[in-house]
Symmetry: C2
Subunit: 122 residues, 2 copies
């Protein structure tokens, strides 16, 4: 094992693409990812898992069918399994995602923003 | 479900005790906790789970038997299962902990800093 700390800002400075989560650490069978997003994603659902969003910089809105959740720096939200959602951001947002290993970013919705598999910066 | 964002600073401002993690959100069978720590904890091990520390404010050192990991704001470290560790902080530290539901803060080590069960602010 490495005893080096994982610096989130350093990891985020190492890439520029949007909607492409990068794995920075693993916790049992979960992955901790950092991501940069801007614009609107696609409506999708994860039937088998909750998904955590923690905003590190910027303002991220998670659209839900029954209303929007506006997240600023230092705020988090867990989208429960089975709940359709669509993230949207006017400006660039830096965030942490946490979900089980192997979850596709777009659920089963597909589309051009689907990452085939999340890159690792771990 | 509530569509309210969880504000980490607000949750942290709602208590003052040290070494007493507070649950702020649940992700499947994991709990997201905030904690304030200062001073030295006890050496302990979690045999069945990794444990994630993410520092939000201050400087936290995680002592391991093969060296120390110094974590500043925005840095995280995952202590692998089975690895003995002992957090220590000269000043007050605000941090996030993530681990499966039901994990005791001191592993099996016991001692006066063991929280009988983590309080919930969720």
């Amino acid at each position: 094992m490495s005893n080096a700390p994982i610096d989130l800002a350093e990891k985020l400075s190492s890439f520029t693409d949007h909607w492409s989560p990068k794995v920075v650490a693993r916790l049992n069978d979960y992955e901790i990812k950092v991501v940069k997003v801007q614009g609107e994603f696609v409506w999708h659902t994860h039937d088998d898992t909750d998904e955590l969003f923690l905003v590190l910089d910027g303002e991220l809105t998670i659209q839900l069918r029954d209303g929007n959740v506006a997240l600023h720096q230092g705020q988090l939200f867990v989208v429960p399994r089975g709940v359709e959602h669509c993230p949207i951001a006017a400006g660039e947002v830096h965030a942490i995602l946490i979900e089980p290993v192997g979850v596709l970013n777009s659920g089963g919705a597909g589309g051009p923003l689907t990452a085939t598999y999340d890159d690792s910066l771990a």
